[in-house]
């Protein structure tokens, strides 16, 4: 998809003015946060697991080449094929070629964020293959022709009424004319439509939550079982995954699973957790005949080698989004690309270029709630500060803000001058606003005063000036 992160500020204002979105965000926030808190509270060893997996993932990142090659060897031994894609284009070319080689007409797709990242659906359509999203949320936004607005709940911004409208419009072609308005009815109709798609799809494409180097398996976590049907029913199964998804063995995958669902939805475990080992073996009664894995780099090795390396521990649970007050105010689409919230503000500038998303790292109060809940202990505020440093050094921030900052820094590093300056400012401000106690409006302070009054300074002097007077009078 075309990135619209450059207009974050405009997107955010539109989002704040969208009552449907605001209602959906409020509903989602209340649910996710409470459920996660309860699930974590029930696991006394939470922090110790959290610490263990951080160490484990750091070890994997230190030895990423080793574990990826081990994973590849294991997949080959299981009868699968591994493809390496450095760029989104390489990834989509590989997948489109596999599909066209199979003369595939339709593809059943499980939900995959890396699939969104490389814009897989557009590439498949271009190759003449029809992709069908089978995760209910992804299916809804595919009908709406929109990107996901949340990692694990892609259609979180859609209200029930909007879904009714979309199904009514798109399901007519299957002879379904009734306008369904209740949740259960909507789910049943989607299931009816999608079931047929599963059965007729030529290729299944899914993501992977983890890749297990020791066994060549991948772990797939869903709540709808759609990933399993996409994996097992079609003759060809293609897995697309970022290279950071590899873990050494099944114990490591199990440790991550204990954190994943709890962090994401507050479930102890997702409804479906499958360990998938590749193509159908002799004697198996089902499973795909051909099995491919496409490992995607897309700037991940760049992050491996720079100060954003900690971000590669991310396993896309969405907890940082759910707990971010900025995400909670504007939702995912405002961020303008596939990823949103705190993790998106770190990852998107890497993948689409900081110059195309300069506001994202700044659209954060650095309140730290994201890293507090992050099961992988990623220091998100520090990583956002790294981006901010780059926006400053590459002059991607407005001139007004750069010059303002430079002027302020020049003062702040000269204490005597600083105190003369601040004392004059206070004299001025207190003359203007002291009687009232606050300002309704003030030049250069429009950002502040549009929605709140600016309290006037307490007196006619700074603390430092008063303190000096007091010392002299002693």
């Amino acid at each position: 998809m075309e990135a619209k992160s450059i207009q974050f500020k405009r997107n955010a204002v539109e989002a704040l003015d969208d009552p449907n979105l605001q209602a959906a965000l409020k509903f989602a926030k209340d649910g996710f946060i409470g459920k996660r808190t309860a699930a974590v509270a029930q696991l006394p060893e939470w922090n110790s697991i959290r610490n263990d997996v951080r160490v484990m993932k750091n070890h994997v990142l230190d030895n990423l080449d080793h574990y990826l090659l081990a994973y590849e060897a294991a997949v080959l031994a299981n009868g699968g094929v591994v493809h390496w894609a450095q760029t989104p284009e390489e990834a989509t070319d590989i997948i489109a070629t596999i599909c066209t080689d199979m003369n595939a007409k339709t593809v059943a797709k499980g939900k995959s964020m890396v699939g969104e990242e490389v814009d897989l659906n557009a590439a498949l359509e271009k190759a003449g293959v029809v992709p069908i999203e089978t995760d209910l949320g992804e299916y809804i936004i595919q009908l709406a022709d929109e990107p996901p607005s949340h990692i694990i709940a892609p259609a979180i911004h859609k209200t029930k009424e909007q879904v009714t409208g979309l199904f009514h419009e798109h399901h007519r072609q299957y002879g379904l004319h009734e306008k369904i308005t209740d949740r259960a009815g909507l789910v049943a109709e989607a299931r009816q439509v999608l079931r047929e798609k599963f059965l007729t799809a030529d290729v299944g494409i899914t993501g992977a939550n983890f890749l297990v180097a020791e066994t060549g398996q991948h772990v797939l976590v869903t709540n709808e079982g759609n990933g399993d049907l996409s994996s097992v029913l079609p003759d060809t199964h293609i897995v697309i995954a970022g290279i950071e998804k590899v873990v050494p063995n099944l114990d490591d995958a199990s440790a991550l699973l204990r954190l994943l669902a709890r962090s994401a939805t507050g479930q102890h475990f997702s409804n479906y957790t499958s360990f998938i080992s590749g193509p159908r073996r002799a004697g198996d009664t089902d499973g795909p005949k051909r099995f491919h894995v496409v490992l995607v780099d897309n700037k991940r090795t760049e992050m491996l080698g720079n100060e954003l390396r900690d971000m590669l521990r991310c396993f896309r649970c969405g907890a940082c989004l759910n707990h971010c007050p900025v995400y909670g105010s504007v939702g995912g689409h405002a961020y303008g690309w596939v990823y949103s919230g705190p993790m998106g503000a770190v990852v998107s500038p890497v993948m689409i270029g900081l110059e195309n998303a300069p506001d994202l790292p700044h659209a954060c109060t650095l309140n730290g709630r994201c890293s507090e809940v992050c099961p992988m202990s990623i220091p998100l505020p520090s990583l956002l500060r790294r981006h901010r440093q780059a926006t400053f050094e590459r002059q991607l921030v407005s001139n007004a803000s750069r010059y303002g900052l430079t002027f302020w820094a020049a003062l702040a590093t000269r204490p005597r001058l600083y105190q003369l300056f601040t004392q004059s400012v206070i004299i001025l401000l207190s003359r203007l606003g002291r009687r009232r106690g606050y300002f309704k409006r003030l030049p250069l302070a429009g950002g502040w005063t549009r929605s709140r009054d600016l309290p006037a300074p307490q007196g006619k002097s700074t603390f430092m000036a008063l303190y000096r007077q007091r010392r002299q009078s002693l």
């Binding site: 900025v326 105010s329 730290g368 900052l405 302020w408 820094a409 106690g437 950002g447 549009r450």
Partner: protein, 259 residues
């Protein structure tokens, strides 16, 4: 011989500019707890405006200047979790690679405390003679809460004061939308966040909002004022020191005398 711990007060730029009363309240509290307090005159700001906007070089200069200004004190105390967190955690990070500074910054960091933590954890202050008849709600500022684990200390101190009843608001750990320059760079988002916060402050039923960081308090007070709310806002140091004769934050001065 004077055995009192020698404390250097880091005033913070917002207290210096906006609310000198908080600085004097901090001095009063520190002295009451048994410290000797000095305010070094070569301090300015902790450097967060530069740090959080990506100007690392300026931040490092400010960090060094602050460390210099506070050499020779047993403790450095700030009436702000955000600034104390900057001094305690981010200075050592920033100076990690500079051989002649990294040890100095780490040693400096061990002496840095936020005011309420210092009064409780180090000095065990006695506030039993103080009185403040009000229902109070306490906003947990993000940096103090998450960088310094300030949560129990201010509540313990408020609990020691006669007449105070603490009405906790819902989501007291959620950001108020201040975020330093965030609130002017993204005013619409900040407005949403501070509006949510103000609604919860009002729901608490408290007469007074307090907290340990002036930035957040200016933000919330500004919104309360705009919404014509009668809730008054004081920095927690002012309440603890019993220095609440001054008009609350954002209230007009009743007299023309200086503090």
């Amino acid at each position: 011989m004077n055995n009192k711990p020698k404390v250097g007060l880091f005033v913070t730029c917002l207290v210096d500019l906006y609310r000198p009363n908080v600085g004097f309240a901090a001095i009063a509290l520190l002295e009451k707890s048994g410290c000797e307090v000095v305010v070094p005159e070569t301090q300015t700001c902790c450097g967060q405006p530069a740090f959080n906007n990506g100007d690392r070089a300026s931040t490092i200069k400010i960090a060094k200047q602050t460390i210099e200004a506070f050499s020779g004190f047993d403790y450095i105390v700030a009436p702000s979790g955000s600034c104390a967190g900057m001094l305690k955690h981010h200075y050592p990070e920033l100076l990690m690679d500079q051989t002649q500074w990294s040890d100095r910054a780490s040693e400096f960091a061990t002496r840095v405390f936020e005011l309420t933590c210092f009064l409780v954890d180090i000095m065990s202050i006695d506030l039993s003679q103080t009185r403040f008849d009000s229902s109070v709600t306490y906003h947990d500022s993000c940096s103090g809460l998450r960088e310094l684990n300030i949560k129990a200390q201010p509540r313990q101190l408020l609990g020691n004061i006669d007449g105070v009843s603490l009405n906790e608001m819902e989501d007291t750990e959620v950001c108020c939308g201040f975020g330093g320059t965030f609130c002017v760079k993204f005013p619409e988002i900040s407005e949403r966040m501070v509006s949510d916060k103000v609604a919860l402050v009002e729901q608490s039923g408290a007469d007074v909002l307090t907290g340990g960081d002036l930035g957040c308090l200016l933000n919330i007070s500004g919104r309360l004022n705009r919404m014509a709310s009668p809730i008054r806002v004081y920095h927690v140091a002012e309440i603890l020191a019993g220095m609440i004769d001054e008009p609350a934050i954002g209230e007009p001065t009743s007299t023309n005398t200086q503090p």
